[in-house]
Every structure is written in C-alpha cells, then in structure tokens.
C-alpha cells in the first residue's frame, strides 16, 4: 500500500478564515429581514474531481450551498441521502457570517422554508387571530 504524501501546507489567503465546523455548522440562518430560516444542518462542497484519483493541481473544493432539512438526521445517525433530496440554500445567497449566518434574500421564496409556509397556510393562519400583531 502506498503511503500518502504529506499534505501541502494551506496557502495563505486574504481575508478572514472560517472554520466550517466552528463558524458555519449549526449556526442560525437569518434572512434579509432578520427572520430565522433554519440552522445550517450541513454543507455542500463542489466535487474535487470526477474520478476517485484526484490529479495534482485540481482546484480546492468550494462551498456551494448550505444544506437543511432531513440531512440533519443523517448527520446524527449517519448515512447519506441522494443528492436530489437535499434542500439547498446556495452559497451566493449568503451575505454575512458572524454569530449568525445572514442571507441577502427573503426567506419567503426559499425551499428551506416550505414546511414553515405549509404549517402557516394550512393550520396557523386558519385559527382566528393567527395573523394579528401581538404588539
């Protein structure tokens, strides 16, 4: 068996370094109005190459999307859902990463919010007073 070559040191990067585990995973996601959308349940990375062998000089994978939904179950209990079952929030919609992840778009149109919208439209909004402002 071939011993793996030692990894090339991480190249210096401009700007802030984010630790995916520490700064992204399990962080609250807010939309552009500050309304909670979900929690970052997992991350989707771009594939580093097509085959099992990764040729030298392949660009490093980048984060393509924040994942949510049933993927949380697989992070707790293991396994991997088919790609078609993932609920994605594209990385380009992310506006800021702090103690929360802020999106630059409204949560109203995101797939990630469909359960919330369904429960709102089918149940909560039908109970009298459900749409009244408590303040």
């Amino acid at each position: 068996m071939k011993t793996p070559r030692p990894l090339v040191p991480v190249p210096p990067v401009a700007g802030r370094t984010l630790d995916a585990q520490l700064h992204l995973l399990d962080r609250q996601v807010l939309d552009n109005d500050g309304v909670p959308v979900t929690t970052v349940d997992d991350l989707e990375l771009s594939p580093p190459g097509s085959g099992p062998e990764i040729p030298e000089g392949t660009p490093a994978p980048v984060i393509t999307a924040l994942l949510t939904g049933p993927i949380l179950g697989t992070r707790i209990f293991g396994g991997r859902p088919p790609s078609s079952r993932l609920i994605r929030i594209p990385w380009k919609d992310v506006a800021d990463v702090g103690v929360v992840v802020r999106l630059g778009v409204s949560g109203q149109n995101l797939d990630a919010d469909w359960v919330e919208r369904w429960i709102r439209d089918k149940i909560i909004a039908r109970i009298p007073g459900g749409s009244r402002d408590p303040r």
Binding site: D26, V35, P36, T38, R75, V99, E116, I124, G130
Partner: protein
C-alpha cells in the same frame, strides 16, 4: 421616575413569578417531613439560579442568541439532540404538572372536580400564548403571584416558636423518623425545584423577546439578584408554614389542599382567598413559561422562526409545537394521574438534567466571539465552576437515591 418604576415592577414580577407548582409542592412536602432542616438547599439553589439566569440573560443581551441555539452550536447535532430530548421531556412533564396545578387550585376555589377544570385551564393558557403581549403576560401573572406573600403573613400569625425554627434551619439534622437517603433525596428535589432548567430557557428567550441590549443588563441584574432571593424567601415561608402546622400533626403533604392548610389555620378565610389567587396565578404563570419554553427549545434547536413578538403566522411551527405540547399535557392528565405526583417526579428529573443546560451557557459566556467585552469575570467563573460540581453531584445521585428511597416514600 419611569426607570425606578420599571425596576420596581421587574423585582415584584420576579418575586411573584419565582414560585411554581414544583416549589410549592416540594417545599411543603419537605417542611411537613423534615421541618426546616433542608432549608439551606433553597439558599444554595436560589444563589445558583441567580448566577446562571444572570449569565444567560447577559449572553442573550450581548449576542442576541438564546440558550438553545447556543447549546446546539456548542454541542453539535448529536449531543444537542440528546440534550433537547432530555430537556424537552422534562419540560413537558413540568407543563403537565403546572396545568394540573391550575386545575387543582381552581378545584379548591370552586369545588368542581379538577378533571373538569383542565380544559378550562388549558384553553386559558393557550389563549394567552396566542394573543397576549409578552410583557403584559409577565407582569400580570407575576403581580398576582405576589398574593403568595400570605404564606409569610400566615407564618407570623401562627406565632411559631422562632427559636426552634431557627435551630432546625441553622443546625440541620435528619429527623429521627426519616432516613439519611430520604433526606438527601429531598435535598436534590428542592435543588431541582429551585434551579429548574426551564427558568433559564425562559429567561434568555424572554430577553430576546423583549429586545434587551447591554444597556438593560443592570435592570435585569437587579431583577434577578433582588427578585429571586425574595422569591426564595416565599419558598422558605411555605416550608416553614408546613413545618409549624403539619410536622407536629404528623401530616405528610400529598395534595395541594394540605399545602395551603397552614394558611387557612394562620390567616383565616381572607388568607385562604389570597392563597387561592396566588396559587392560580403562580401555576398559571409557570404553565405559560413552561409551554413557551417547550416552543423555544424546539424552535431554537431546529432554527425555526419563534417568539411572541411575532404574529403567530410568522412563527407557525413554534405555535403549532406549543399547541401539541398542551394537548399532550391534557392527554396525560386525563388519565387521572395525580398532578402532585408528576410534580414530585419532575423536580427530581430536572435535577438530573441540570448539567445539560448549565455547562453550555458557561462555555459560551466565556466566548469573546459572542460576548465581545462582556465575557464572564473571574469571580463569576469560579462560582459557576463550584456550582457545576454541585449540579453534577446532584444529577448523578438523583436516580440512585430515587430507587433506594422508593421516590422518597
């Protein structure tokens, strides 16, 4: 002037809101069996809840993050889910106990069987959660809960032998007819009743609900550091009343009517009227807080939109989950299981789950990324670490003691 009024109101509601069904039942049971020999535990518990409630309020004000968001972030999904399951289960048990407590308190006032009053109680709780503004909810139940001060009044009117009460409290000893294991079992129950985790979930989420910023921290600190100890004094008065009237008579408390018996004896009909108002207000207020806490913990773990400051339609899953919790509570109660028994178990299980809540708060309160310049000072950390050891010991000892003592019987 407005500021002073605000502080006074905050302190009064903190006192009135401190006592819930767990404190009422546990303190009366302990008073009726052990006199004041366990009262030191109330002091230890109140000091603990002051430290950690204050800390979670500061985390919420500095970072805008409530407790369970922080727990998930720090523990990850797996340990976070285990924590959520335990906390949520105990919270649900407390919701059930409080709902039963409202019904039992109303039964004392109306003589209608409590099972018939449970639907009234649960609909009232839900309507308040559905429609009433957060601050009004807090202030009204807190102020009405102050009626429980009648326990203090009754204690004075009973003209007890203060010397012997002080002796019991200052030189704690296990009474002859009780075992050491039962003594320590009830010590843990009292500790769990005083430090119930839902108070921390509620306190930190309430800080977000009311939009606290760092500027409001002084007021919240005064509320906690003055209000909670005075609320703890109410707990002590409940135990002392039971110690004066029920202990010599050989009555071990098993029902709510026995909890208020000393008030009737000491303060008469007027006292009884006050204690009934206080009882309903305290259990009702706590039912609101625990139901909201169920919603808060779930929503914060999964990242749903939550909060009473939003229209229900803008926090749909949050409101639906609370409706389901209330329905589960009603379902459990309608089996006819004794709410007092549920209460006694819920405070002990609370003690078991304490480290799950308090450790992550302590970790985040030291994280400058969240807290900026408002991280814990060294003194607070030392105290909190000491408490963590106590909490851990209580948590580990609770279940073995429950088995050994047959749940204290």
């Amino acid at each position: 002037m407005k500021r002073i009024l605000g502080v006074a109101l905050g302190i009064l509601t903190a006192i009135g809101g401190f006592v819930d069904i767990g404190d009422l039942v546990t303190n009366a049971v302990v008073g009726s069996r052990f006199g004041l020999s366990l009262i030191w535990v109330v002091g230890v518990g109140v000091a603990g809840i002051c430290i950690f409630a204050n800390m979670s309020g500061r985390v919420a004000a500095a970072s805008g993050r409530a407790t369970f968001e922080v727990i998930r972030e720090r523990l990850g999904p797996r340990a976070g889910l285990a924590n959520l399951s335990a906390s949520f289960f105990i919270n649900l048990m407390t919701v059930t106990a409080e709902l039963g407590g409202i019904a039992l308190a109303l039964q004392l006032a109306t003589s209608v069987h409590y099972l018939l009053l449970i639907p009234v109680a649960v609909v009232a709780v839900w309507l308040v959660i559905w429609r009433v503004k957060f601050s009004i909810m807090e202030n009204v139940t807190g102020l009405l809960g102050l009626a429980l001060i009648v326990f203090v009044v009754a204690l004075f009117l009973l003209k007890p032998d203060w010397g012997s009460l002080a002796g019991q409290a200052l030189a704690p000893a296990v009474p002859d007819e009780e075992t050491g294991a039962a003594y320590w079992y009830f010590a843990i129950a009292l500790f769990g009743a005083a430090m119930t985790p839902y108070e921390v979930f509620f306190f930190s989420s309430g800080a977000v609900e009311e939009g606290w910023t760092i500027k409001d921290l002084i007021q919240s600190r005064i509320n906690v550091l003055v209000g909670f100890p005075l609320g703890g004094l109410l707990s002590v008065a409940i135990a002392a009343c039971a110690a004066v009237v029920l202990l010599p008579a050989g009555i071990a408390v098993t029902s709510i009517s026995q909890v208020i018996l000393p008030v009737a004896e000491g303060a008469g009909k007027l006292g009884l009227a006050f204690v009934l108002v206080g009882l309903v207000a305290a259990t009702f207020g706590a039912a609101l807080e625990t139901t909201l806490s169920s919603g808060y913990t779930l929503a914060q773990f999964f990242g749903w939109s939550w909060g009473k400051f939003r229209r229900p339609a803008q926090a749909a899953r949050f409101h639906l989950s609370m409706i389901i919790c209330l329905l589960i509570g009603v379902a459990v109660l309608s089996t006819g299981v004794d709410p007092v028994l549920i209460t006694e178990y819920s405070v002990v299980f609370s003690a078991v789950a304490l480290p799950l809540t308090y450790l992550p708060i302590l970790i985040v309160a030291n994280d400058p990324q969240y807290m900026g310049g408002h991280v814990n000072g060294r003194g607070v950390n030392v105290l909190a670490m000491i408490y963590l050891v106590v909490i851990l010991a209580a948590s580990l000892a609770a279940i073995p003691l429950m088995i050994v003592t047959g749940a204290g019987s």
